[in-house]
């Protein structure tokens, strides 16, 4: 027995040492790439075909190969989206792109560590507009001004290009793609639409009445919110601007009090499972809910799988207008980028019209540039695209940006809005008391980070002040 244990132990030791010696990393990656190409059933075949063509092209005198480009991204992190990035969106790039999905904290730590060490592996960064400021402040990002002309020629709106400057004369990111949050409705719900209401131009009151009518007629609560998902964006970018015209400055105004009363009232018709929802596409597909608000990328499967059963609708309006939150994703390069040419080529590639359309079709993020939606873009996605444009182009639209300038503490502002929600709506605490207490926390956060106001709040000198 003992001898056997000894044997097993030495064997493990030896194996461990052997394994340590036998880790040739480049080979590892090549192997796994082969694996991916066998994954998606229909797509694979196309991939193999194009591969053959590529090899023939290589014979011609000008072979372009940008080599290995490491691309870290806080977007397209879910397994399916990451697979689409690797298998479809990035497959025609003349080089080998390593797509590395990462959560925000890991992403920031990794880039900072590489910049501090003075050398790194990452060449391209994809992240939200609100996720770059810490890196900008640390001097971790390159000036990409020489790529601006290309972006403008392709029709990127100036407003978005301006966002990438963070108030400086340098271009820290090139706009890559955008998303937003909209409503999705099962067509069965149309029978219960309040009288005189236009589903494409609802008010929040009508939206509540819609859910109320369904509840009264069927006995089921068919309205859903992703409480365990991105609910904080609903509060920050939709209901607050719609009712108060602001996000931070109007946190505890009398209009805000009215708004919370409305949310509490609406919550009577919200499906109790909402507390556990992260992605609304799932309960929509299972018909657990008929009406839902969520991020376009988190609704897309509903529209893709059953485009004839669902409607994509712009968000409702409130007394102050139609608050909505555009999400801007940018591409940047760290100062330590090992593959400068490859990185720039990848940015150029990802902002090409045909690649932007593929991105929309595969992962549900909308183009940054002017594109004509071709016929082959699935009906469901076109539906979403139309709702997105209608929302942004509404005459009473109030665009609200994701929090800017809070750096690593940008998670804390979300917690304040979520806490206010939990205390007021779930725990039934007194609205004014809660708003007063949470407003203090909000003010402390603004003072400590010194973050000036961002839209929809009017610009401020110094830290943003809660009224």
């Amino acid at each position: 027995m003992r001898r056997r244990v000894l044997l097993v132990l030495t064997a493990t030791l030896l194996l461990g040492l052997l394994a340590a010696c036998a880790t040739p990393t480049p080979q590892v990656i090549k192997e796994t790439v082969v694996v991916t190409k066998e994954v998606p059933v229909e797509v694979t075949k196309i991939v193999e075909v194009t591969k053959v063509v590529e090899k023939e092209v290589m014979v011609t005198p000008t072979p372009v190969d940008y080599g290995k480009v490491a691309f870290i991204s806080t977007q397209c992190v879910p397994v399916e989206e990451a697979e689409k990035m690797r298998g479809v969106i990035l497959k025609d790039f003349p080089g080998e792109v390593e797509f590395i999905p990462a959560d925000y904290a890991t992403f920031e730590d990794t880039v900072m560590a590489e910049v501090k060490a003075g050398k790194g592996k990452i060449s391209v960064i994809g992240a939200l507009h609100g996720q770059f400021p810490t890196l900008v402040a640390a001097g971790a990002l390159q000036d990409l001004s020489h790529l601006v002309d290309m972006a403008k020629e392709r029709g990127t709106p100036d407003a978005f290009i301006e966002l990438g400057k963070y108030g400086t004369d340098k271009q820290y990111f090139i706009p890559w793609m955008q998303a937003t949050y909209i409503l999705a409705a099962n067509k069965k719900a149309l029978d219960y639409l309040p009288e005189g209401a236009d589903p494409e131009n609802l008010t929040w009151e009508q939206f509540r009445d819609w859910a109320k009518n369904i509840y009264e007629a069927t006995g089921d609560k068919k309205l859903g919110f992703p409480v365990n998902g991105l609910l904080h964006r609903f509060l920050e970018g939709y209901i607050y601007p719609s009712y108060t015209g602001g996000m931070v400055t109007t946190f505890k105004t009398s209009e805000a009090v009215e708004m919370w009363k409305f949310i509490k009232d609406m919550w009577q018709y919200v499906h109790p499972e909402s507390m556990s929802y992260e992605f609304m596409q799932e309960p929509l597909l299972s018909e657990e809910v008929w009406l839902a608000w969520d991020h376009t990328a988190r609704l897309i499967n509903a529209f893709k799988e059953r485009p004839d059963d669902f409607l994509a609708l712009p968000a409702p309006s409130g007394p102050k207008g139609k608050g909505f939150m555009p999400v801007v994703v940018g591409l940047a390069m760290p100062v330590t980028a090992p593959n400068q040419k490859g990185g720039e080529a990848l940015i150029e590639y990802l902002t090409r019209p045909e690649v932007q359309i593929t991105t929309l079709r595969e992962v549900g993020f909308f183009p940054m540039i002017k594109v004509d939606y071709p016929g082959y873009v699935a009906k469901g996605i076109r539906l979403q695209g139309e709702a997105v444009s209608k929302q942004a182009a509404a005459p009473d639209a109030i665009p609200a940006m994701l929090p800017v300038g809070l750096g690593p503490r940008s998670g804390e502002i979300n917690k304040i809005y979520r806490d206010a929600f939990t205390r007021i709506v779930i725990n039934n605490e007194d609205i004014e008391t809660v708003l007063k207490e949470e407003a203090e926390k909000l003010q402390t956060l603004m003072n400590e980070t010194g973050a000036p106001c961002w839209p929809p709040d009017p610009p401020s000198k110094g830290a943003c002040q809660v009224k």
């Binding site: 132990l9 493990t12 394994a19 879910p78 730590d109 560590a113 592996k121 309960p283 299972s286 499967n301």
Partner: protein, 275 residues
């Protein structure tokens, strides 16, 4: 046993079995639900109301997950890292444990305390400096770097566990071996080590499981060469339900299989004999 079951013996034993049953269910029910969901097609997972019995069988999500980029590579990385950690921590930790068990030296208690105090540094605050140092040493994004950090994390437990294992091996036996002609080293390798092996194996298991489950260091120190938990941590946090179940099932199974093989040694460490 008698101590645990006071006078109204039937009731006592009944309650004990009931508690045992509850604890077992506490662990088994989630495992059951995860397993069932991992083998269900997507629409069953989304359906409402949900059922506690398996509705239909499908390998769809599991296969997609298995074939997804990086999963198999990360499994291999995880195994390599865990084995390396196991080897390194035993090579460094067992002699330290032996020294603590056998020798009386000045500052022994302080030394013991210092070993434990290394656990007091949260790895979160060390992450960026560690990554920077590893990049400079060209160790960044290698399985060795992760194994080194895991070894540092595992050493305190390894040292303390092995020291108590060696205390359990009678010193007289080693002395007797030396009287009969062994030198110090031979006495250790021929007498003390074989007797301590089950205990050492148990401590190795702890190390293995620690490394297998560790997420944070693995996420920060790697880019391409992720271990399985690091890979899952990043990808599953934002993935739809079916993939989470598949991923949960996938990380659960090796741990359970491993436990089945090694429970004999675990019990050994706790002083329970399994006949």
């Amino acid at each position: 046993m008698r101590r645990l079951a006071p006078p109204p013996r039937l009731v006592g034993r009944g309650t004990m079995y009931l508690m045992a049953l509850l604890i077992a269910l506490w662990i088994l029910i989630p495992i059951y639900l995860i397993t069932m969901a991992a083998f269900s097609p997507k629409d069953v997972i989304y359906s409402w109301p949900k059922s506690l019995m398996p509705q239909s069988f499908s390998l769809e999500t599991l296969l997609f997950f298995l074939n997804a980029y990086g999963v198999l590579a990360s499994v291999r990385n995880s195994v390599i890292v865990a084995l390396l950690t196991l080897a390194l921590s035993l090579v460094v930790g067992a002699p330290a444990g032996y020294a603590l068990a056998r020798f009386i030296f000045r500052g022994k208690d302080v030394y013991r305390l210092m070993i434990l105090s290394t656990r007091a540094f949260p790895i979160v605050i060390l992450s960026i400096p560690l990554a920077v140092a590893f990049i400079r040493w060209n160790l960044y994004d290698t399985v060795i770097s992760v194994a080194l950090v895991h070894t540092a994390m595992a050493l305190p437990t390894t040292i303390l566990v092995t020291s108590s294992v060696f205390i359990g091996v009678s010193k007289e036996l080693e002395e007797a071996a030396m009287v009969l002609g062994c030198n110090r080293l031979q006495a250790f390798t021929k007498v003390a080590l074989p007797l301590a092996l089950p205990g050492l194996a148990a401590s190795a298991i702890f190390t293995f499981v620690l490394s297998w489950n560790e997420v944070f260091a693995a996420t920060i120190l790697t880019l391409y060469n992720r271990t399985l938990p690091a890979h899952l941590f990043v990808q599953l946090a934002a993935s739809p339900l079916p993939f989470r179940f598949a991923g949960g099932f996938f990380i659960l199974v090796p741990a359970i299989v491993f436990m089945f093989f090694v429970r004999r040694y675990l019990f050994n460490l706790w002083g329970i004999t399994l006949k």
